[in-house]
Amino acid sequence: MAIPKVCGIETEYGIQVVGGDPNPIAASSLLINAYAHDVARQQTEWDFEDEAPGNDARGFAREGSMPPQVETHLVNTVLTNGARFYVDHAHPEFSTPECSDALECVRYDRAGEVVLIRAMEAADLTVRDGSHLVIYKNNSDGKGNSYGTHENYLMDRAAPFTRIVAGVTPHFVTRQIFAGAGKVGAETSVHDGQRVDFQLSQRAEFFEEQVGLETTLKRPIVNTRDEPHADPHRYRRLHVIVGDANLAEVATFLKVGTTSLVLAMIEDDVSGSRSLALADPVTAMHEVALDRTFSRPLRMADGSTATALAIQWELYSLARKYADDRGLECMGAEGIGEEVLSRWENVLNGLETDPMSLAGQLDWVAKLQLIEAYRQRHGCAWDDPRLAALDLQYHDLRPSRSLFARLDTERIVAEASVVAAVVEPPRGTRAWFRGQCLKKWPTAVVTANWDSLVFDLGADPLRRVPMMDPLKGTAEHVEELLNACASPSELLDRLSG
């Protein structure tokens, strides 16, 4: 049976300094320091032990590619909700804690937005030169520079990587029809010779390979980074880099939920009678981004053709049958798997019959509807800079400026639960142990990372507590123990005894 689909989202936010030093690294550091010192009042740093972003899931090392560099000198904090908040390259990045299911992932992704908004407000109070920071939850600057929103999924190491690549590629190429965040125009050469008014996805045109290790150059549809942050003999962490940053909660829920389901089917080696292998996945991905009717035939490896919508219907039908045959336990809390299926079916129906009816659920539709309404009112052509401005400002996180916030999109997580998730960790993964220890003993936990905590108990040497299983250290496992311990040394004694 498929293992629980523990999941998380890492978002690199766009950052701009208005009226001050434009250095994005300095600005990102200022932002995160302001949050750590003035909002969270907490300074536990990230621990880089065991990070190996250069390991390749296909079993070979490097092969002349460029593994991402870990920048240990930049600001890096761990929050009491189990999240990581840090400077990655030239962007502030928020990584959600490990979540038990797609709905929890939506909640923590939204909590990340709240953290960024609070950080932005705190940072603006610390600068005295009249400048201010603006944070955008998007994936490109419209000039050919892209930054990522990555998903992570826990997978069984027993599933062969080649099967994962074959099974997930058709989904990654086509899920943008509901998961895309939309974009005015084009910014790379992949659509040269075509007029591009609007694309479904911010990211699609940046992908150049089907499989590979890179994330910044020659981006691959399936990323092979093999860095499980868990017991490598039992687990894999599938690192997904094809996604757009979503603001619409339903879009995030579907992006994570449908992908979890597809991965569960791959683990259980379930496939349909028809092969969904595409002849040229990279080109298909670019084509899908341009096709607002979802009717463009994509070339399949077997010589036939299929539309993006047909591929999604095929995956949905397969998942529906999988759920009926095997159940949806791996999808997390009661009812989540069914909710994913029913919403998945609902959006595919909507895309088929009346895409604009999904403006309350999907980012690209919401954005397109806004832009079309604006075009009608002002009579502007697609290359009018005001449309690019609308696109950018859709993603502005400032409540006073955000266009997304002004739209009436469906909320699926209660606002109070989002605010609670800013400080409280998820209960069903090891994030609970990490977050609670940070809350209880903020000065004793000197560093933390995904799979361990390091305690400083004073006289003794530093003590590392490994957490190699994402499914242990949950509230169910350790709440009683943590409540019973008056000090971190008592906890460590009882853990080792």
């Binding site: 219907w313 009346d354 309350g360 309404a373 209660a414």
Partner: protein
């Protein structure tokens, strides 16, 4: 689960869904359009003053 808006449907059959779902979805779309009109009134005030300059100045370094 209480926080989620459950949309229960009787049948998983696709053909039934189309008939059942579309009217409600379009009504929601109409409501959104009416709200969009209000929003458009607001946008001219909220949108950054010089769109061209605003867009030109937004330059990011690649990430990931």
């Amino acid at each position: 689960m209480a926080e989620r808006e459950q949309k229960k449907r009787a049948s998983p059959e696709r053909a039934d869904e189309v008939v059942e779902e579309v009217p409600a979805a379009s009504a929601a779309g109409d409501k959104l359009k009416a709200e969009l009109d209000d929003l458009l009134d607001e946008i001219d005030e909220v949108l950054e003053d010089n769109a061209e300059e605003f867009v030109r100045n937004y330059v990011q370094k690649g990430g990931e």
